[in-house]
């Protein structure tokens, strides 16, 4: 089981989105939304 108890780890859905972002698999709207969130959330950006 994936341990989601780590407070520093992003939630499962965000992790999947980050992988898809790196793979250039997201549509433009989702990319924009994620980049906006990464700007605001340093932890997400670091991940």
């Amino acid at each position: 089981m994936i341990d989601n108890s780590d407070a520093h780890a992003p939630p499962e859905e965000d992790r999947l989105l980050l992988h898809a972002y790196i793979d250039r698999e997201l549509d433009a709207a989702t990319v924009l939304a994620l980049e906006r969130r990464m700007t605001a959330d340093a932890r997400l950006k670091t991940e």
């Binding site: 089981m1 994936i2 499962e12 992790r15 999947l16 992988h19 898809a20 793979d23 698999e25």
Partner: protein
């Protein structure tokens, strides 16, 4: 005439992707000899299917045949290798079993091992559902949508398996590298 047309379609739809087919079969079976046997069966199946099927994305179509043929082959020859699951515990149990079954200790295995071999072993140690998704993406270069088509899985499952496969891989390589640091 029908035979000639099928032959032409075989050259058009199958031959350009034989390297990809062999690569996927090798990663799934674990060795080139078995992979060649599988690809031989794949060619027969593909030839037969070309007579009746319309082919859109020929690479995804052929890799789906490779995947299904490999699973049939594994079911017949190595049923234990065919544990298709998304449960991470299977991954951990598989790794524990590897050590119990007299595999070289990590220390011994690390001696003189190149990074490429290390990575190859780490991929080979992944459960088949994770491994096929990772190989289809990183080695065959398929899109998420194509992987979903080849494996018959929803895109969400592809995303989850791919992310988890990468995380397992990073953790596995990290563990070995830290061990290597202690050994050398």
């Amino acid at each position: 005439l029908a035979g000639e047309q099928t032959g032409e379609r075989f050259r058009e739809f199958v031959l350009p992707h034989l390297d990809d087919a062999l690569s996927l079969a090798r990663w799934l079976t674990g060795n080139i000899t078995d992979a060649e046997d599988v690809v031989q069966d794949v060619c027969i199946r593909a030839l037969s299917a070309l007579g009746s099927q319309t082919v859109g994305n020929s690479r995804a179509w052929l890799l789906a045949i490779v995947r299904n043929t490999t699973f049939t082959w594994l079911g017949k020859n190595r049923p234990k290798a065919l544990v298709v699951t998304d449960d991470d515990r299977v991954f951990e149990e598989g790794r524990s079993r590897m050590n119990e079954e007299g595999q070289p200790t990590p220390e011994a295995a690390l001696i003189a091992r190149a990074d490429a071999a290390l990575l190859q072993d780490a991929i080979a140690a992944l459960p088949i559902a994770f491994r096929e998704t990772l190989v289809l993406r990183e080695i065959n270069g398929l899109s998420y949508r194509e992987i979903a088509k080849v494996t018959g899985s929803p895109i969400g499952t592809v995303m989850s398996r791919l992310a988890r496969a990468r995380e397992h891989l990073m953790r596995h390589v990290g563990e070995i590298q830290s061990l290597e640091g202690r050994v050398t």
